[in-house]
């Protein structure tokens, strides 16, 4: 017994003592930067005037006002002391360090499908964000038992997703993977039901009352209410520089996802190949008739 137990204890000791460092060195921060850019620079977590990752502007929802947290390397306010496994848990499983479940305002249920390798790289990049000392603010939740509610929400609505070890390397399959699990297009472009859960029947069909009260366009291939008349290059132009087919520019949260917020990076800094993969995939999304523009926006200005 003793003989068996000793090596086990020794191994445990080694794992505990150096777990974080070993894990941290497994990710590649340079590749993680690409994941971070494709994730819109994790823009929700950055204040409008920076610094990057210091904790974002408040998000008002029907269920309360939420304050995205500090994800910089600061040891007390940020995630500097978190292990890779803990950060992974927060990103992909919605679990916080104390074992509680995150508010679904943080779309962990979409990142759940992010490839193991991409998460490792992303974490390695997050660790390079300069420490910012901005304090986290508690969420103001309009629900009687938020901890229970968040746990129940995950149980009810989080899809059963299995993350691949490695992301699809190219083509429409990569585009689908990036759209669904990294750039999470559906988090804004899919309308939500009364429980705040995205409606799978209306995948990417746009939302009248999206985040921050903004109208979010239908990006399915419906010709009348979506972007069915667009070419792949039109979608690439949006992702690269916020350019619409009539040379108008994208505004609001999407512009921040593209250009970055608070000095951060966004889709514009991702690789051309990955933007192309997303555009190729979005171009294939089946049409859904769903008009989201406000009445006064119809039929031209005036």
């Amino acid at each position: 017994m003793v003989v068996l137990a000793l090596p086990a204890a020794a191994m445990l000791g080694v794992a505990c003592a150096s777990g974080r460092d070993v894990a941290a060195s497994s990710g590649d921060p340079a590749r993680g930067r690409e994941v971070f850019a494709l994730a819109g620079g994790c823009g929700c977590h950055t204040p409008e005037k920076g610094p990057v990752g210091a904790g974002g502007r408040e998000l008002e929802t029907p269920f309360g006002t939420f304050h995205p947290t500090n994800i910089t390397s600061d040891e007390t306010r940020g995630i500097g002391e978190w292990s890779d496994a803990e950060i992974d848990g927060a990103i992909r499983r919605g679990v916080l360090r104390d074992g509680s479940v995150e508010t679904p305002v943080m779309p962990y249920y979409r990142y759940a499908g992010m490839a193991d390798a991409d998460v490792r790289d992303l974490i390695a990049y997050l660790r390079t964000l300069p420490a910012a000392s901005q304090e986290n603010r508690p969420h103001e939740v309009d629900l009687p038992f938020p901890r229970l509610a968040f746990r129940a929400w995950r149980w009810l609505f989080a899809p059963d997703v299995t993350a691949p070890a490695v992301a699809p390397p190219s083509g429409v399959e990569r585009g689908r993977y990036l759209s669904d699990h990294v750039s999470i297009c559906g988090d804004c472009h899919t309308p939500r039901d009364r429980f705040g859960a995205p409606d799978p029947e209306q995948y990417l069909a746009g939302a009248v009352d999206g985040p921050l009260g903004q109208v979010v366009p239908n990006i399915t291939s419906d010709k009348g209410t979506g972007i069915g008349s667009w070419a792949v290059s039109d979608i690439e132009n949006v992702l690269e520089m916020g350019m619409l087919p009539d040379f108008d520019n994208v505004q609001g949260l999407m512009a921040e996802m593209i250009d970055g917020i608070g000095g951060g990076i966004g889709y514009a800094q991702a690789s051309k190949a990955d933007r192309n993969a997303i555009a190729e995939y979005i171009h294939t999304v089946p049409p859904i008739i769903h008009r989201v523009e406000k009445k006064k926006d119809r039929g031209g200005p005036g």
Binding site: R151, V215, M243, P245, F247, K296, G300
Partner: protein, 159 residues
Amino acid sequence: MRTERRITTMAMAVVAAVLLSGGAAQTKDEDSPKLPPGPIADRHELMKHNGDDAEKIGDALKAGKPGDAAAPAERIAGSVDHFLKLFPPGSEDPNSRAKPEIWTKRVEFDRLAANLKTTANDLAEAAKANGDVKKASGAMFKACKACHTDFRKPKDDED
């Protein structure tokens, strides 16, 4: 395990009760009255034409016929002088997205508009000379964006 399931079921009921009671979606409907004839309506119309012409430039590029971008680019360049006359002092309206800075920083506004004229003319030249139309159209887009960013309210500010 069973206890946790029971707790989650209870929580689910709580969430459902709370949401069903007070979570009705807010509906907004601010159908705005039509603009009366005048400079605001005219500049909206002008920009709509420019948008249509810009789309023709994009279509020309996509069709592999960059030469077709010349005519719409010339029309956009030609619209700028008239456009600048459509912002007389006081021509603000809740249905207009023109920012007050147009009148407080008029020199800068005029400069950005002139930049549209220059980049649109450059684009027309490139289209005629079989030059780099894609690059020229990118430059024109940047001119559009620069002015929109500084002098046009976001859509949701109209409310």
